[in-house]
């Protein structure tokens, strides 16, 4: 693993800014990986052994993901929406798992560790660099049971929705009165009032001269070559 300062710089680059959360996240990831014995998590032989659960969608989560190389799409990054500054690092090979929790005390102690800095964020940033891990974090050894349907690798489970036909992967279907349903059909969705639409340039494919409109893609505009048609198929 690279040195802390190197990781912090690249993490801040990837995240978009340097902030106290980046410092905490980089250190959290370094500690977590050390605890589970994966010191080069991004290296090919280790990348498939690591799963990380982040418990917040804040700056710290990006730093943890950056340092460890875990990704949502690889199923190595799991987001648990607890609103807690914590992440759990799991070594799939050894089964060892440690939950690293950022302490609230660290916030209170920022002034003691960086007394010469008056502004809140720069003070936290400097202080979180200076604090030892023992002050910055609490660690729990935990057991994490990962279901087969949550593991990385090829899709092993597929089920079509009995109402709309949508294929649901990884056992995310819902069984209602013995019927397999996708989430949208159960109405337990983050969206509402869904209706299918058409859009301009809907025959666009990458790499071909599709006579694409130079407009900003606004759905109000029609594409140049196509025949006029209704905006929406009702």
């Amino acid at each position: 693993m690279d040195a802390f300062e190197v990781l912090l710089e690249s993490s801040a680059d990837a995240h978009g800014h340097l902030c106290p959360g980046q410092v905490v996240g980089v250190r959290m990831a370094m500690l977590g990986c050390r605890l589970i014995g994966l010191n080069e998590p991004r290296r090919h032989d280790q990348i498939k052994k690591l799963i990380v659960y982040v418990e917040m969608d804040r700056c710290t989560a990006d730093a943890v993901a950056h340092v460890t190389g875990v990704k949502l799409g690889r199923r190595s990054l799991k987001f648990m929406d607890y609103g807690i500054m914590a992440a759990t690092f799991v070594n799939l090979e050894s089964g060892k798992a440690f939950r690293v929790v950022s302490t609230e005390e660290a916030r209170s102690l920022a002034a003691a560790y960086a007394p010469a800095i008056a502004e809140k964020h720069p003070q936290q940033l400097a202080a979180y660099k200076r604090m030892p891990d023992s002050v910055l974090f609490r660690v729990q050894q935990v057991k994490v049971k990962i279901d087969d349907c949550d593991l990385p690798g090829p899709t092993r489970f597929k089920a079509p929705c009995t109402r709309c036909g949508q294929v649901v992967r990884d056992q995310r279907e819902v069984i209602e009165k013995g019927q397999v349903l996708c989430r949208p059909c159960t109405q337990e969705t983050y969206f509402s009032d869904a209706r299918e639409v058409t859009w301009p340039d809907m025959n666009w494919v990458p790499g071909k001269n599709n006579n694409q409109s130079k407009s900003d893609g606004n759905a109000e505009k029609m594409s140049g070559g196509d025949k006029p048609r209704p905006y929406f198929c009702q």
């Binding site: 005390e105 102690l109 003691a112 560790y113 010469a116 023992s134």
Partner: protein, 341 residues
């Protein structure tokens, strides 16, 4: 964990903690000490003390008694020059100065340590001069029985930088004095700075090995400084010429003597026009005239620290601001007052 048992079942068990008895106006103290084996004769007295139940300790593998905890904490807190004996009293262990010197506290680490619910450590102020054997701190675990992990975590925090608490010896410096000012140099008035500074220096175990007088002339001051350095002085103190008067040229003299680093002005009253400079590794302290009138000034705060080898720079002088105001009491009780704390 602690198990509660009825008094009548307690015969033959050992007390988990001291039992305090208070007889108004007569006695307050431990009637029974921890570890005492309860016998039949004790039952009556215990009942009179209002005890119908007693605690018996039943330690689990991951649990720890307050006395063991205190020893772990004391060991972690004690840095260089700190000694302690594994003789907890009411769960508390005293930490003592193992030698004469300046007591030092890493205040950030101490705060981080005390942020743990189960532990505490109280200390004297940072930068207090102490004698060998003097108590400088005490630590204890708060509960009688607790989990081992929080204690180990607190101990890890205490060990973070090696020296949360320490006592550092003062070196025996060979001090060269440069007394500046035309009025003294020309014999118009008698020098009073020399004796005052010498007394302070000797009180800290160092000695004055050279004294030079210089008029308000930067070149002559430079020569005096270089001469002291050539004679092997490893700490220089210059008096006078520190203010903003046109005749005050001591700073020019110090700079031309080769001071690479110079910090003029300290957040302390008396002593705002104090100066710390370094020629190579030799510290050079410029003492303003307030040192003649006030018994205790910024010099008394800085000199012991300099003698432990601490590098005093801009930040150190700035941080003295908090507590750096002398109340100028009619009867000075320094160091038993807030000045410099």
């Amino acid at each position: 964990m602690l198990k509660k048992i009825k008094l009548e079942d307690a015969v033959g068990t050992r007390l988990a903690h001291d039992l305090t008895e208070i007889r108004p106006g007569q006695f307050k103290g431990a009637a029974f000490h921890k570890g005492h084996t309860v016998c039949n004769e004790d039952l009556c007295r215990l009942q009179k003390m209002g005890k119908n139940h007693l605690y018996v300790i039943d330690l689990k593998d991951d649990e720890i008694h307050e006395d063991q905890a205190a020893a772990i904490l004391a060991d972690a807190l004690a840095g260089d020059g700190i000694v302690w004996r594994d003789e907890p009293r009411e769960g508390k262990i005293k930490l003592l100065a193992g030698k004469d010197g300046l007591f030092g506290v890493d205040t950030a680490a101490l705060a981080a340590f005390n942020m743990n619910d189960e532990v505490m450590c109280a200390t004297l102020h940072n930068h207090t001069l102490v004698k060998k054997g003097e108590q400088v701190a005490a630590t204890r675990a708060i509960p009688l029985i607790m989990k081992r992990t929080p204690i180990e975590r607190a101990a890890a925090i205490a060990r973070q930088n090696g020296n949360v608490l320490s006592v550092n010896s003062l070196r025996k410096a060979k001090v060269g004095l440069v007394i500046t000012g035309n009025e003294v140099y020309n014999g118009l008035i008698e020098d009073r700075f020399g004796p005052i500074l010498t007394e302070k220096i000797e009180a800290l175990g160092s000695e004055v090995t050279a004294v030079a007088f210089a008029p308000d002339d930067a070149e002559r001051i430079r020569t005096a400084i270089r001469s002291h350095l050539d004679q092997g002085c490893d700490l220089l103190m210059l008096s006078g010429g520190m203010s903003v008067d046109p005749d005050d040229v001591t700073r020019q003299g110090i700079r031309s003597a080769g001071a690479a680093e110079m910090h003029y002005g300290a957040a302390v009253l008396p002593g705002a026009m104090f100066l710390v400079a370094y020629v190579g590794n030799v510290p050079l302290l410029g003492v303003p005239a307030c040192g003649l009138f006030h018994r205790i000034t910024v010099l008394d705060l800085v000199l012991p620290r300099i003698l432990t080898g601490e590098k005093i720079g801009k930040a150190e002088l700035a941080f003295m601001g908090h507590g750096g105001l002398c109340k100028d009491c009619e009867e000075c009780s320094y160091p038993h007052c807030p000045f410099g704390k």
